[in-house]
């Protein structure tokens, strides 16, 4: 039974890693990766000498930190809420609706947002005008609305799907504990605080540790599509940069080096966080 699993990992995860060699090689169209000449750490040096590198790292860290840390409680809260719904029919409908955005591509989501937030003609601006306000704010273009739009759309799209794992963890909690709590006169809040949350803590920690691996990947498609002249300074992240220089300028080696750096930093963070979590709470991925 393990063979397909191993084969899939080897084919889709390990073999492509061979391409990481390009981070140290000058890519030639007519040569294989091994045949291409070595350039050492030239691309890494080039990246850190680039005037944009610090902005790129800063933007990436801000956005991914928001998604990781601020975004973490939302699916947990939703899972807790779903858990409290007693009507099975309503629960199923509510869950399905919350999962739907996960299946929509960012192109559609941002397209909808552009329409809704458009100056003058967008739904929000028309509502503002209806109530006598100034309905010509270009929300998508204003830098000071960027984080709200980015974070709001991220939560909207991911909250339902991400809540599944917590809901599954909640379903696995021994019901006797709730009954005992009820006998002891515990309120709903006390049940959640003293039983549900401690019981799903290992799941929360594992999800968090694994998420740390992508701390330098803030989400290419969403941010690429959200980029506007007014927010450009905040949107440019390592993922968009890798695509720009790697694909659009054909600098494969350089783009690989930047991508590799993202992966290595993510790996280090996962290892460190895993050790820390094991020491502090006894829960860890391995």
């Amino acid at each position: 039974m393990l063979i397909p699993c191993f084969a899939s990992f080897i084919i889709f995860s390990y073999i492509p890693m061979g391409g990481l060699l390009l981070a140290f090689k000058e890519f030639k169209f007519n040569q294989s990766v091994l045949e291409s000449p070595w350039v050492g750490f030239q691309y890494f040096e080039q990246f850190f000498n680039d005037y944009k590198s610090m902005t790129l790292i800063k933007n990436t860290l801000i956005i991914s930190t928001m998604k990781l840390f601020l975004g973490l409680p939302f699916p947990i809260l939703l899972a807790l809420m779903f858990n409290e719904i007693k009507n099975r029919w309503f629960k199923n409908i509510a869950q399905s609706i919350s999962y739907l955005p996960h299946f929509m591509s960012w192109v559609i989501v941002i397209g909808l947002m552009q329409r809704m937030l458009a100056p003058d003609t967008g739904l929000l601006n028309e509502t503002i005008t209806f109530f006598g306000g100034n309905g010509n704010t270009f929300f998508m273009n204003e830098a000071h609305y960027f984080y709200q739009i980015m974070f709001g759309s991220h939560i909207w799209k991911t909250i339902g799907w991400d809540s599944i794992i917590y809901l599954a963890a909640i379903a696995g909690i021994n019901q006797d504990m709730y009954e005992a709590a009820k006998i002891d006169g515990a309120s709903k809040w006390a049940e959640v605080w003293n039983i549900t949350l401690p019981s799903i803590r290992p799941t929360i920690l594992i999800v968090f540790i694994l998420s740390l691996g992508s701390i330098l990947s803030a989400g290419f498609d969403q941010l690429y599509l959200l980029k506007m002249p007014g927010n450009a300074e905040l949107v440019d992240i390592l993922d968009t940069y890798v695509i720009r220089v790697g694909l659009q300028q054909g600098q494969y080696g350089y783009a690989t080096a930047v991508g590799m750096m993202q992966g290595v930093i993510g790996l280090i963070l996962v290892v460190v966080a895993n050790r820390f979590a094991r020491k502090v709470s006894g829960t860890s991925v391995w």
């Binding site: 191993f6 990992f9 080897i10 390990y14 073999i15 492509p16 890693m17 061979g18 391409g19 060699l21 890519f27 030639k28 169209f29 007519n30 040569q31 294989s32 990766v33 091994l34 045949e35 005037y51 397209g111 552009q114 458009a118 100056p119 003058d120 010509n136 270009f138 998508m140 273009n141 506007m228 002249p229 007014g230 450009a232 300074e233 220089v245 694909l247 659009q248 300028q249 054909g250 600098q251 494969y252 391995w286």
Partner: protein, 570 residues
């Protein structure tokens, strides 16, 4: 849980194996697609016969420009005339350049590839040049000699300078040519259509305000006109308020034609200053003037706030609904405006000079290349030569004789009435007939060069011999704009794009990145909250250009422009 050492071993084994597998795998030397059948006896075959084989191409262009679906009857005609089973695919990609780069990196290319390349400064050039230098393509020169049409490329004075020295016969290749540049006109200054572009205004609004749009020649006059439009509260087709100045027909982006007197050059960012020195726009006061102007338009709500960002669908929809009094950029051949309900404005002055039509010595654009893995590459050159011949062009531009057209006494095609009607009533069905006249442009890839429609077919526009009213609307707009007069006074130049020399510049990547950043920064500056913030944005972009060696590149441009063989378009 596995112990750490065991886990590491388990991870390491497949990783090492994958490195070995990926790294050691040599690039494919032979493409499956290059299989060809044995050439049989050509006796009894037409003079256009090439070989009984398949030719497959991969096209790195947008689906809007090239039609992938071919008509079976047209394919049969190709087979009967040349023996070739022709097939091509469009590379699916977010944009054509991404597709080209990914396609070349894959190393698995069919018999030929085609890509955009309107001049040697275009973004595709460094990519295909790298591929050529690394032996990815076949030298076409030996095969060109034996062709009817492409052999003209070897004649002195036939090719424009950039096509000759920048794209095809680059000095570094010592006579070898790895790309076939296309769309070269037969005669200098030849123009197929009386095309004009730039800002247009809704005719009813111009009439209501009693304004002749042709008298608007400066951005200040445009501003005054915009204010008048705003004051009169015009409505669109749905009775809603209009935006005074809307984006391009094809979506929001920078449109210098709207304020061309505030730009050093409408087409790029290089030019000569008052002292005659080559400068980049960032070294002049044009950008700041433009920023002030655009900020004024935005602040006074004379310009749609999404002018630079609106997607194509919404922009086009807005224009069709009459939601913009002034459209920043469109052209006179757009179908929706055949009734002239939008009139061209100006044209506006360019920099500090009055407008003068500029024409290239010869047109050029698009290119194809043959991968070095292709067997018998001469067949592909011969096939392209057939498509570029009058007989080939007749096939891919007019379709099949009898079915789609008849020949008049002079041998020129007269388009069948049914086809013309179908084109008007059901363009999709007409396109399925499979030739350029009805919007199916497969033949342009390999065959559109040595262009002279009047000489070849006796008409400037498909179908105009049969139906003179076919381009009546566009021609009326051209007449209104004074196209013929402007053409008479046009400046014809044979020059290189200022971006054509990046390949010779040591800081190529840094400068390209800094120029891209500058273009982005200008638009950011338009949307800045104040002029001071805009100045800061532009200052940073200029600093970046300076750090990327802009001054050295300008010195290179001065050197190039001083050489009559490498004059620069400034």
């Amino acid at each position: 849980m596995l112990k750490n050492t065991k886990l590491l071993k388990m991870l390491a084994v497949p990783l090492i194996a994958s490195l070995v597998m990926t790294g050691c795998a040599p690039k494919e030397k032979n493409s499956e697609n290059t299989k060809q059948e044995t050439i049989k006896d050509t006796a009894g075959k037409p003079a256009t016969w090439i070989a009984d084989r398949k030719i497959k191409g991969l096209i790195f262009m947008d689906a809007d420009d090239i039609t992938e679906e071919m008509n079976p009857e047209v394919l049969k005609q190709i087979k009967d005339k040349t023996g070739i089973d022709f097939e091509f695919n469009l590379m699916p990609a977010a944009n054509s350049l991404d597709g080209l780069i990914a396609g070349l990196a894959s190393g698995d290319l069919p018999d030929f590839i085609a890509f955009y390349l309107n001049h040697s400064g275009r973004k595709e050039m460094p990519i295909v040049l790298k591929a050529a230098r690394e032996g990815m393509f076949t030298d076409l020169t030996p095969f060109i000699k034996d062709t009817k049409i492409f052999s003209k490329y070897l004649q002195d004075g036939y090719l424009p300078l950039d096509t000759k020295n920048g794209v095809m016969f680059r000095p570094e290749f010592n006579g070898a040519a790895y790309f076939m540049h296309m769309n070269v006109s037969r005669e200098p200054g030849y123009m197929t259509r009386k095309t004009l572009g730039g800002p247009f205004i809704r005719k009813d609004i111009a009439d209501a305000l009693n304004v002749d749009p042709r008298t608007i020649t400066t951005s200040e006059q445009m501003y005054e006109l915009a204010k008048k439009i705003k004051a009169d509260n015009f409505k669109d087709n749905n009775g809603k308020d209009i935006s005074v100045i809307g984006p391009r027909y094809w979506g929001g982006t920078e449109v210098k034609a709207l304020y061309s007197d505030l730009a050093i050059n409408v087409n790029h960012t290089f030019g000569r200053d008052k002292e005659g020195k080559i400068v980049h726009e960032s070294q002049t006061d044009y950008p700041l003037k433009r920023v002030e102007y655009v900020q004024k338009l935005l602040k006074e709500k004379l310009m749609n706030p999404e002018f630079y960002t609106m997607d194509e669908n919404r922009a086009t929809e807005g224009i069709l609904n009459g939601s913009f009094a002034i459209v920043a950029d469109m052209h006179n051949y757009l179908d929706f405006n055949k009734d002239m309900h939008y009139l061209p404005i100006g044209p506006l002055n360019e920099g500090d000079k009055p407008f003068r039509m500029g024409l290239d010595f010869k047109s050029s654009g698009g290119a194809w290349a043959i991968p070095s893995t292709t067997k018998k590459p001469e067949d592909i050159v011969k096939f392209a030569d057939f498509l570029a011949s009058r007989e080939g062009k007749l096939l891919w531009q007019y379709g099949i004789e009898g079915r789609d057209y008849t020949l008049d006494a002079k041998g020129n095609p007269i388009v069948n009435k049914e086809v013309s009607e179908m084109k008007d009533k059901d363009p999709k069905a007409a396109k399925a007939l499979g030739f350029a006249g009805v919007g199916n442009s497969w033949g342009e890839i390999l065959g559109n060069t040595d262009v002279d429609r009047i000489d070849d077919f006796g008409e400037a526009e498909y179908g105009s011999a049969a139906q003179s009213q076919v381009d009546e609307g566009p021609l009326k707009i051209a007449e209104y704009w004074g196209w013929d007069e402007k053409r008479k006074n046009a400046e014809i130049s044979d020059t290189y794009s200022p971006m054509a020399f990046f390949g010779e510049f040591s800081k190529e990547n840094e400068l390209k990145a800094a120029l891209d950043n500058y273009n982005e920064s200008i638009i950011r500056a338009y949307y800045a909250k104040s002029l001071d913030e805009a100045k800061k944005i532009l200052g940073e972009a200029s600093k970046q250009l300076h750090a990327a060696g802009l001054e050295d590149y300008l010195a290179l441009l001065e050197k190039k422009d001083a050489d009559p063989n490498t004059k620069v378009n400034l």
